[in-house]
């Protein structure tokens, strides 16, 4: 037992008996004084200390939660009816903070890949320029750059883009499935009339692969998407626009279609850093807390489109006063990603390789897989 602890346990006792302890008297007097100050007793030397202090009682504040988040599996291996080498499991948290229950399933990052690339900021373009005419090659490169999953956005199906057919889109999905062995997120073009048809066809082509169909929302035929997911064994992304009540309604509607908690991932919309991230941050916190309190309509893992960070002008605008955009841009995405991760995101859709790496580093910090550099904290004073 260390001396200070010993002494503090005696604080308040009238008589102190020490057995088998040798200490020199000066040290003892000093320590006694310190211990008395620490325990709030008037010290021997009479230094003025507040008499109302109780002994320090402190426990690590770990909470009990009534509810938990469902576990959603993305991807299926051969034995499960798919062809993926790796599957990704999301959610299953029983507590809010990392130290309360450990990391059940670590959050993951999915790389955005497009069948027809939209105009991308230069900071990103330079990393994918060699592959961006070939989604399969792009997907391979994404996996090499650390993606846990790949999201294939079928932008070409937009009637205002190439208006490519659901069948053509399904072919692209097959190509990407061939090219990589990680699970897939399949995204439409954001065209409400067409997305359900496209996703349905792709779901069929990828039958049994447990992809994530992105996405069902309140403005399109979500029923078709839900039915396709059930029929061809996939999961559905339930996407709403920064409104927790809408999110609950859509989730409920998807339940009504026959989907269960372990087939749904929810996306409350990610606002870019500086442009609405605050709403996203608080909605995610509320969703997670709601889930743990037992709200069944919120007990699904959460997905965030961190790529939206690039919507902020500060991420891409060329402006000398703002410093080099090749750093500013990825950092904009990193900070956006860090914020949603800390709020409780389970899967993050991202775009810049450095942003992916950095956010993954934080995730691997949580799990302990990434070790901190060996530095002494105090050294910042003299660095």
């Amino acid at each position: 037992m260390n001396l200070e602890e010993l002494l503090s346990s005696f604080a308040g006792a009238d008589e102190i008996e020490l057995e088998n302890v040798t200490i020199d008297t000066e040290e003892l007097i000093l320590k006694v004084q310190q211990a008395l100050i620490a325990s709030g007793m008037p010290s021997v030397a009479g230094v003025g200390v507040s008499p109302e202090l109780a002994p320090l009682e402190y426990k690590v504040p770990i909470r009990e939660y009534k509810g938990s988040v469902a576990e959603v599996q993305l991807g299926a291996t051969k034995s499960e009816g798919g062809t993926r080498k790796h599957v990704v499991k999301l959610g299953a948290q029983k507590s809010l903070y990392w130290f309360e229950g450990g990391i059940v399933n670590r959050p993951v990052v999915t790389f955005d890949v497009f069948d027809v690339a939209p105009p991308l900021p230069r900071a990103i373009r330079e990393h994918v320029e060699d592959v961006w005419h070939d989604p399969a090659e792009w997907a391979k490169k994404a996996v090499k750059m650390g993606a846990d999953l790949v999201t294939i956005h079928l932008t070409s199906t937009d009637p205002n883009n190439q208006d490519s057919s659901p069948r053509e889109a399904a072919k692209t999905v097959e190509d990407v499935l061939q090219a990589v062995d990680v699970p897939l997120v399949i995204g439409g073009s954001g065209t409400p009339e067409k997305d359900p048809l496209v996703l349905e066809k792709c779901a069929e082509a990828a039958e049994g692969e447990r992809c994530l169909l992105a996405s069902a929302n309140l403005d399109l035929d979500y029923k078709k998407i839900a039915q396709a997911a059930i029929k061809y064994k996939h999961n559905v992304l339930s996407w709403t626009s920064m409104n927790i009540n809408d999110q609950k309604s859509l989730n409920r509607l998807l339940f009504d279609e026959g989907l269960t908690q372990d087939q749904i991932v929810q996306d409350p919309t990610t606002g870019a850093l500086g442009y609405g991230l605050d709403y996203t941050y608080s909605i995610i916190e509320r969703m997670k807390i709601g889930a743990l309190k037992g709200d069944e309509e919120l007990q699904m893992p959460i997905s965030c489109g961190v790529t939206n960070a690039w919507g902020a002008r500060e991420s891409w605008l060329n402006n000398d006063a703002w410093g080099p955009r090749e750093h500013r841009g990825p950092l904009w995405e990193i900070v956006t990603g860090t914020a949603v991760l800390m709020a409780g995101a389970d899967i993050m859709m991202m775009l810049h390789p450095l942003a992916v790496k950095t956010v993954k580093d934080i995730i691997l910090s949580m799990t302990g897989e990434k070790k901190s550099r060996n530095v002494r904290y105090e050294d910042w004073l003299t660095v």
Partner: protein, 465 residues
């Protein structure tokens, strides 16, 4: 902690409904106090002798679970802490994280002065306001009290910004504190080894003190108690900061533990603001770029996990812009509505030839467009459509910008009578619905740039009238 109820607060008010506070009832005033829209000083009767007990009870009741500690003096003084809640949606966060930037005493005096000026002059414009840095952390790299004293003197001669004096040596801090007398610098740091001497310096010079015990919550709480018992009431807690990796996870966990103990359990030793030092990223850094990214990443995570003050090194714009925006977001009051009224707005004094722009009623979107036009001195009309408070891109994706919504704002605003031309500039990202809007309005729809900062250049190429 359960948030205060108006009833709790009401019990500590005179209860005579005299309306001197400008509110109809004491009960209503109680709600205002809880929301921090008013303060006890707004209730004159409370200060009458007969209510002195109530007054004392009220002050105690209203003191936040995280003490508000003032660093610095005068106009630039900064309040650290003062927080009431763990989650911002429960109320709001009050005092934005103080961002302090280091200066070391080994630099020549003129370099110290120019770095301090750079910290002071730093500013980023954001929708009509300037985001600034808050203070200077002077660290004793030389180990020499005289050099430190010179550095502190140079800083105080250059700036009124709040200071943190950084050394573990009480003699060094004493020299610094005496030079910065009346500036109320924060002393970094008292540790389990040196705290008695540091406390002496702090008491003598009336300074707030950082209690620092890296990685040891219990040790930190004990130290905080020792310092408080010795007569210091303004304490800031430092649980250490680790670089990205398992250590950072531990740092973040400890930050949550500390804040929970303060807010939810009201453990006296934890009820102080917390300081983080993302600058650790610069220890043995591979390169400046690496360190810059790591420092920003650590800073972001600490800012999100309740740190009330941070010490950083890089004053690079690319690194600090994201952090300042994060701070702005997180410390925005969630009680303030997210949308502006959907109607016609004017920038400057527009006339019948002025351009007409369409945007959404997400407050930030509207203010961004308006301030860009103002900055470029372009008199214009802005038609703000009701997109339920969503930004442009989100509105597009969520089908909130529809011909119906546009038609609605068109007829309500009377814009057709205000301009001679029939041209509406729509945001670049809404290009997809150009045709529909043309049908709905009968106007010529011009697809504008994807960002309103580009409007001036756009108008040169595409004159409206």
């Amino acid at each position: 902690m359960a948030r205060l109820s108006p009833m709790d607060v009401y019990k500590a008010l005179p209860g005579i409904n005299c309306k001197k506070c400008g509110v109809d009832t004491c009960m209503a005033f109680a709600s205002k106090l809880i929301e921090r829209e008013m303060t006890p000083a707004d209730c004159p009767p409370l200060f009458e002798a007969q209510y002195s007990e109530k007054q004392a009870a009220l002050i105690k009741l209203l003191s936040p679970p995280v003490k508000e500690v003032v660093v610095g003096s005068g106009e630039k003084a900064i309040k650290l802490g003062g927080e009431e809640v763990i989650y911002r949606h429960e109320l709001t966060y009050f005092n934005p994280t103080g961002l302090f930037y280091d200066v070391d005493d080994s630099l020549p005096v003129d370099e110290i002065k120019s770095r301090v000026s750079a910290i002071e002059d730093f500013g980023v414009d954001k929708i009509g306001r300037t985001l600034k840095l808050d203070g200077v952390a002077i660290r004793c790299k030389t180990g020499d009290a005289a050099s430190f004293g010179e550095a502190v003197l140079a800083a105080t001669e250059t700036t009124e910004l709040p200071l943190i004096l950084c050394s573990h040596d009480s003699e060094v801090l004493e020299v610094g504190a005496e030079i910065a007398l009346d500036r109320r610098p924060l002393l970094f740091a008292a540790t389990p080894d040196n705290w008695e001497k540091i406390v002496e310096v702090a008491l003598k010079n009336n300074c707030p003190v950082v209690a620092s015990v890296p990685g040891d919550v219990e040790g930190l709480l004990k130290l905080s108690r020792n310092i408080r018992s010795a007569g210091i009431s303004d304490i800031v807690l430092d649980i250490g900061t680790n670089t990205v990796g398992d250590g950072l996870a531990e740092t973040i966990n400890n930050l949550v533990i500390l804040r929970r103990l303060a807010v939810e359990e009201e453990l006296a030793e934890a009820m102080y603001p917390i300081l983080g030092v993302p600058m650790v990223a610069w220890i043995d850094a591979k390169s400046e770029i690496d360190a810059g990214f790591e420092e920003a990443t650590i800073a972001a995570s600490q800012l999100l996990r309740f740190c009330d003050a941070l010490i950083l090194h890089s004053t690079e714009m690319w690194q600090n812009m994201p952090l300042l925006n994060l701070r702005l977001n997180i410390y925005t009051d969630p009680r303030v509505p997210v949308s502006v009224e959907a109607k016609l707005y004017e920038v400057g004094t527009p006339d019948e030839n002025s351009p007409v722009f369409l945007t959404t009623n997400f407050a930030l979107t509207y203010f961004t467009v308006a301030s860009d036009l103002e900055a470029a001195k372009i008199p214009a009309y802005i038609l703000v459509a009701d997109t339920e408070g969503l930004a442009v891109e989100v509105s597009m994706a969520g089908k909130k910008i529809t011909p119906e919504v546009i038609q609605d704002i068109f007829s309500k605003s009377g814009i057709e009578k205000l301009v001679k031309h029939r041209k509406l500039v729509i945001p670049g990202v809404t290009a997809r619905i150009k045709g529909e809007l043309e049908d709905a309005t009968g106007w010529e729809i011009i697809v504008g740039p994807k960002d309103s900062s580009m409007i001036p250049g756009f108008l040169q190429k595409t004159p409206i009238a």
